[in-house]
Symmetry: C2
Subunit: 100 residues, 2 copies
């Protein structure tokens, strides 16, 4: 099952690291405690809508972009679990088809 | 400011109504109380990741699709607020440009 807060946390951390910024910088800019931000990034805390907006603002990351990144990750997980739950015969058909 | 829980609520309600299903049906299928589901749809309650997954499951709505719908709505809001916060001169330029 897709756990949204984990995907959101990974996306937020990915953008922060891609910008070469620290947890401390973002927590100060977003007015969120460093510990809380860290828990959100690790998918351990559900961030409220207001907090998410504030973190996205601190990252100069449009909410729409954050959400489409999370949607892409969810789509990948869904594709993998659809494949895993196929009967073995159909799975091998797919593997053969993709190799052809 | 985009309030994520309101956009999520609108998207969930939109899919439920498009399927011609009642709050009662979805709440039973998702094992969520009717009152809680109603509050989530109205954007009054933050749904946990687990609850969202359960509601999406009851709607046969992939999480990735729900998120991309919410992302599209957020992108529209962002475009509107970008326009509103432009200086008046630039805004009228845009209106002129789009009329040309």
């Amino acid at each position: 099952m897709i756990v949204l807060r984990r995907e959101v946390g990974d996306v937020l951390r990915g953008h922060r690291q891609a910008q070469g910024r620290t947890l401390r910088e973002i927590s100060a800019s977003a007015a969120v405690s460093l510990g809380y931000l860290s828990e959100v990034e690790r998918g351990e805390k559900e961030a409220s809508s207001e907090l998410l907006a504030s973190i996205c603002g601190a990252l100069n990351l449009p909410m729409s972009k954050m959400l489409s990144d999370v949607s892409d990750r969810a789509a990948e997980s869904e594709a993998v679990s659809a494949l895993v739950t196929l009967p073995v015969a159909r799975r091998s058909d797919l593997v053969r088809a993709s190799a052809a």
